[in-house]
């Protein structure tokens, strides 16, 4: 269990570091475009494509670690009034529902990527295929599912104690 938890943490953390690189890259490209446009009157071709793809990567890669750190905002107020075991039980159920939902979404996302690959869809200016980016989002969602699974196991343990 500890190994599994460590593995999920390492993977989600690594994805998050890549997301950080995407943020820096976005900033560099956007600023470069402004500088080139203002001073040389030659905007960087395809800036919009780069930015949108980098953004999709940032979010896809960042979702799981955000979940790992309980970054997705939730309302604690009412559930906190319940006994600890009841809280853990409710958490296990709501997380199970979330797990099933995001699991299906991850699967469909991969399917969506496959259809995009088959129809050869590319970003309009830079002509980079969109499907790898969508696969990355699908993978990010899959890791998010593992993060949720970790939370379910933790809750079940609390209930069983």
């Amino acid at each position: 269990m500890k190994q599994f938890s460590g593995l999920v943490q390492r993977i989600s953390r690594s994805l998050d570091i890549m997301a950080g690189f995407c943020i820096v890259a976005t900033m560099v490209i956007v600023v470069l475009n402004v500088v080139l446009r203002v001073f040389l009157r030659k905007p960087l071709l395809g800036t919009m494509d780069y930015v949108t793809l980098l953004m999709a990567l940032t979010i896809g890669l960042g979702l799981a670690y955000c979940g790992f750190n309980n970054g997705h905002i939730a309302v604690d107020l009412i559930i906190e009034k319940f006994p600890k075991k009841t809280q853990a039980f409710i958490d296990a159920i709501t997380n199970l529902i979330s797990l099933i939902f995001w699991g299906i979404v991850a699967w469909y996302m991969a399917e969506y990527a496959r259809t995009m690959a088959l129809s050869n869809l590319v970003a309009p200016t830079i002509q980079i295929p969109l499907s790898p980016v969508i696969y990355v989002i699908s993978f990010g969602l899959l890791i998010l599912c593992f993060v949720i699974l970790l939370k379910i196991i933790a809750s079940v343990r609390k209930v069983a104690q």
Binding site: G20, V30, L61, L63, C66, V75, D76, I90
Partner: protein, 436 residues
């Protein structure tokens, strides 16, 4: 089940799920998906979900969010906040209540490079609270003034809430930003008047600090104000006059804060890395919430709930300001329980058509009003996000003590709201000036 009935059931299930601690973005997407499936088919709904997720994550207009979020975190980790505070209190710290008044000024200036009210409260709180403790300020006044000051962070541009409101209602982000400036300054002044009245009635609440000489004041001036003004002028100024898109303004702002932090050796490699981790986390949270709300909104749209609500309100024989009052009251109540961003995303599809299309209020004005109203939500019990942030900085102070100090500031916000309702020109003056 009729569409309308299904929509109402969907809303109830959504509320149950979030009160059972399911993350708000998850609950929005899940209920939106389930309702959409019921009205169409599971595969159609799943297709809609994946398209909306990818569509929003890869939206150029939403790319403005990570840029401004990063700008805020860079400012946070480079310590600009503390230097701003030192400048403000060297200037007016010797007044009764001067440190609390300085806190408001520092929050307002920090708000000019940071778009979040919690980040503003955390940044200024970390430096202002120990100082106020040193000079024996009343704990309740000290903590409450910082929590309330955080609201200035979202009112004064840049502001994440304005960005999200602008996205959801297709309003210009530049216009919303500029519209927030005067109300932000007005609220700062109202806060400062409130503190002055409190300390005038009871000087023990905020004893005067030591007076700084002019040399000290000038040296404090170099410490942060210059950087903030420069970055603000470049990034916001460029946006206002139409040189940049909002995303470009965010990126330029981030690079500006980063460069000035590097030049002054104010940010460590550790701080830089932390700023990125916080940015990816916050951006993922916001973008998933935006996508979730759009999925939820798709379900609401086919259930016709917003349409029926707008028609029903239109048929009511009440003056517009009464209906507006009811809408604001609902926001205030919801704001006590639900996060500001989630609340705006959730309610815009329902209330926006009523307020703007049926009642004919100006969309930019409504945006500013909403930011103020949800600002009240972040400092009122029981949720009051900013109050919890401060509790994290000073764990020894009980929550009730902080909340007790909040009341006078809440009154200041209500006065500000009333002024904006009576004189909408306070909001529309700057945006109109710019578009002429």
């Amino acid at each position: 089940m009729s569409g309308l009935m299904l929509g109402v059931v969907g809303l109830i299930v959504f509320l149950i799920l979030i009160f059972l601690r399911m993350p708000i973005s998850f609950a929005m997407a899940l209920v939106g998906f389930a309702g959409f499936s019921y009205m169409t088919s599971v595969s159609a709904a799943m297709n809609m979900v994946v398209r909306e997720l990818f569509g929003n994550f890869s939206s150029y207009s939403l790319s403005v969010i990570p840029m401004f979020v990063w700008m805020g975190f860079l400012a946070y980790y480079s310590g600009i906040g503390s230097r701003l505070y030192i400048f403000a209190y060297k200037l007016i710290g010797h007044w009764p209540g001067g440190l609390a008044i300085a806190t408001q000024t520092a929050c307002a200036i920090f708000g000019a490079i940071c778009g979040s009210n919690t980040a503003t409260a955390a940044t200024i709180g970390a430096i202002a609270l120990p100082e106020m403790k040193k000079y024996k300020y009343d704990v309740s006044l000290a903590t409450a003034s910082v929590a309330a000051g955080g609201v200035l962070g979202v009112l004064i541009p840049p502001s994440v809430i304005f960005i999200v409101y602008g996205m959801a209602t297709e309003q210009s982000i530049g216009k919303l930003f500029i519209a927030g400036i005067i109300p932000g300054i007005l609220l700062m002044l109202l806060y400062q008047i409130t503190i002055s009245i409190l300390t005038w009635r009871n000087p023990l609440l905020g004893p005067a600090g030591p007076r700084a000489n002019w040399k000290e004041r000038f040296s404090a001036l170099r410490g942060g104000l210059g950087e903030v003004l420069l970055v603000f002028a470049l990034s916001m100024g460029g946006l206002f006059v139409g040189w940049f898109t909002a995303t470009e303004a965010g990126a330029i702002g981030a690079v500006g804060v980063l460069l000035s932090a590097l030049a002054g050796r104010n940010i460590s490699w550790e701080g830089f890395k932390k700023s990125l981790v916080d940015t990816t986390r916050t951006s993922a949270m916001i973008m998933l919430m935006v996508a979730g709300s759009i999925i939820f909104g798709r379900f609401m749209a086919i259930s016709r709930v917003p349409f029926e609500m707008a028609t029903w309100t239109g048929s009511l024989d009440l003056p517009p300001f009464v209906i507006m009052g009811i809408v604001l009251f609902i926001y205030l109540i919801l704001g006590c329980f639900i996060d500001a961003l989630a609340m705006i995303l959730l309610t815009i599809p329902i209330f926006y058509p009523i307020v703007v299309d049926t009642l004919g209020y100006d969309p930019i004005w409504f945006g500013v009003i909403i930011v103020l109203v949800v600002g009240m939500g972040v400092i009122t019990p029981p949720v009051g996000m900013n109050v919890y942030i401060l509790k994290g900085i000073v764990p020894e102070v009980p929550l009730e003590v902080i909340f007790r100090g909040i009341w006078p500031f809440l009154i200041a916000i209500i006065v500000c709201l009333a002024l904006l309702m009576m004189f909408p020109q306070i909001v529309s003056f700057l945006p109109n000036l710019l578009t002429k």
